[in-house]
Amino acid sequence: MGIYLDNNATTRVDDAVVAEMLPLFTEHFGNPSSMHGYGAAVGGKIEWARGEVQKLLGAAFDTEIVFTSGGTESDNTAILSALKAYPKRREIVTSVVEHPAVLSFCDYLESKEGYKVHRIPVDGKGDLDMAAYEAALSENVAIVSIMWANNETGTIFPVEQLAVMAKKVGALFHTDAVQAVGKIPMDLANSEIDMLSLSGHKLHAPKGVGALYLKRGIRFRPLFRGGHQERGRRAGTENAPAIVGLGKACQLAREALPVELGQVAALRDRLESALIEAIPNCFVTGNPANRLPNTANIAFEFIEGEAILLLMNEFGIAASSGSACTSGSLEPSHVMRAMGVPYTAAHGATRFSLSRDTTQAEIDKVIEVMPGIIERLRKLSPYWTNQGASTAFQPVYS
């Protein structure tokens, strides 16, 4: 059996979620819009799922939940909706460390549609530059879109506070909470957050389903137009099995929150401290005092992430990397660069993301094999000698 420590990329669908979904493929296959018993059964299930999402988020009303195809759709919808709803406001505020679902979309809006985009920088720990945030806010801002927790480092942003500040200038506040939902408690009813994105496959539901939270009363413009599904906010016949799966996953996540904050965090800490202890020249990226309980991102200096992952894979261990070579681009992760992590370490940044399925035996196995993997690659590296890091190597830059 493999050791899966890439839960920020995607999670295993929980058995109970699969069980909840299956009847929607077989007996309850109706279209929820239909005027007969087949439809009604499915419609009821979807409404139950909506309630479960609502409870996990601590939202005031279940009608604030709109089902979508996932995090990316929710992010795009939220931003575009705000721009359409407030056409006179031509500015967007976001951060430099957002997921491409927000960042690439903002790049596009800036270069092709002429919007002004403020990308708020972060410090060495990945914490947001609050002064820059405050300075960027103005009556010209239609929407602030800042993630709740970062997918690479797990660093948590103070979104509730950021939302209060955004409201003061009349801007809508959206948060990409794809990584945060189910891992930390939420109470949207008592926050100023207007919109929130979540994605099923990050919390043991299937891929291709997610939700957008829309606070009651805010202006909204749909991305998809067509049928009256989701109260006209997202046209298209509902992906009923996936939505019901998401509902079940939210119920399970709510019940497992203490596990996430307790056992998962403890295993993460165990892994992290053991690796830092055993391996020279490595460090934790992100803010250890303020991050998701399941994420450890460790930068191993003078070696490259893809090579690390390939060797880990030989031991059946799955993780991920911020290295350029895993993404197909030549630049290492924009998150590592934004935090000012030097290139010699950014390419070796390795993300271990746990879940409630992770066991102590698995973590101990990783602790056992990682030092050998790192040493093996460092032996190949021109930046490394038997005595440690080498400064003699100065290649011709190409």
């Binding site: 490259e304 350029a324 290139y343 190949l380 100065q394 011709v396 830059y397 190409s398």
Partner: protein
């Protein structure tokens, strides 16, 4: 996850000739830490015979960077310095049974380190002259500088033209926006503007002035003369495209058409459509195209129906 060949995996998991070569008398150090790969190549050259007796490497980089380094050392040990200089990055990639397009730069780094080391041995200074840019089209491995050059040299103004000249954008189409960005930047430098996407040959205006048609046809038929010198891939492609365009009216008269699918060295893959495809005459048509292309290119090529392309 990359689809690495067995050969590549073998050289990554058990690299040959890694480590420091104490008796080295030639060292090449290339790469860029920002791009995530750097390589130090150490050679021991026998001064009498100029034979590379030993080679070792140290590499900071991904799986294919390490494997490329390992392969390189295996390929050059026992060769003379002059023979080694004939090893190209393509040879390294071939030795590893191919590299994904995103990873070709790893083999480039190997070839460069070799040249740097040999320059070092000869007491010359090695200057890095490769301009490898951001990969734009993954399907065909075309980077930004290649597109820029094609646009500048041929005066291209539309996405479709870029595709015709470089192949970039001719397959999955995900790179279309990126190609347009490059195109737009070059045109802006020339003080021109990007022509709006010619999505399906825009409905012809009622009256077209001749001056409106002329510039489009011109670049294609510009230089089909058979050159004596060895053709670059881009040149070969341009000539092929022009030749096919010349033949097209005849094929169309028979209710058919021809489309260039790929050029792989001397193999030219085409798709025959309409009346030509599948009919008895297909092989005759292929032969006719081949004769024409050989004449235009001044070199021997094979025209092959795309259905016989090696499945990848």
């Amino acid at each position: 996850m990359w689809n690495y060949s067995d050969k590549l995996k073998e050289h990554f998991f058990n690299p040959k000739n890694s480590g420091v070569l104490e008796e080295a008398n030639a060292v090449g150090e290339v790469g860029s830490i920002s791009c995530g790969d750097a390589l130090r190549l150490m050679l021991k050259v026998e001064p009498e015979t100029q034979v590379i007796q030993d080679a070792r490497f140290q590499t900071f980089g991904c799986g294919s960077a390490i494997a490329s380094s390992s392969a390189l050392t295996e390929m050059i040990i026992g060769k003379t310095v002059d023979e080694a200089l004939l090893v190209t990055n393509k040879d390294i990639a071939d030795y590893l049974q191919g590299l994904p397009p995103e990873k070709m730069h790893c083999s480039v780094m190997g070839a460069e380190a070799l040249r740097a080391a040999i320059a070092n041995y000869r007491g010359e200074e090695w200057v890095d002259d490769h301009d490898e840019g951001q990969l734009i089209c993954k399907c065909f491995g075309i980077d930004a500088p290649m597109i820029e050059r094609a646009v500048e040299v041929n005066g291209l103004t539309t996405l479709e033209e870029v595709t015709n000249y470089t192949k970039a954008g001719g397959s999955c189409k995900t790179c279309h926006e990126a190609i347009e960005d490059v195109l737009e930047a070059v045109l802006a430098k020339q003080g021109k503007k990007l022509e709006p996407a010619a999505g399906a040959a825009a409905p012809a205006p009622a009256v077209i002035g001749l001056d409106q048609i002329a510039p489009l046809a011109a670049p294609v038929t510009a230089k089909p003369a058979a050159p004596a010198k060895k053709l670059s891939n881009v040149q070969r492609m341009q000539i092929v495209i022009a030749a096919l365009d010349e033949m097209r009216p005849y094929l169309k008269a028979d209710g058919g058409d021809v489309e260039l699918i790929d050029i792989d060295g001397k193999n030219i893959y085409v798709r025959l459509s309409g009346a030509c495809s599948g009919c008895q005459m297909a092989s005759v048509t292929i032969e006719g195209i081949q004769t024409k292309l050989v004449e235009k290119l001044g070199e021997l090529v094979r025209v092959i129906p795309h259905t016989m392309m090696a499945a990848e």
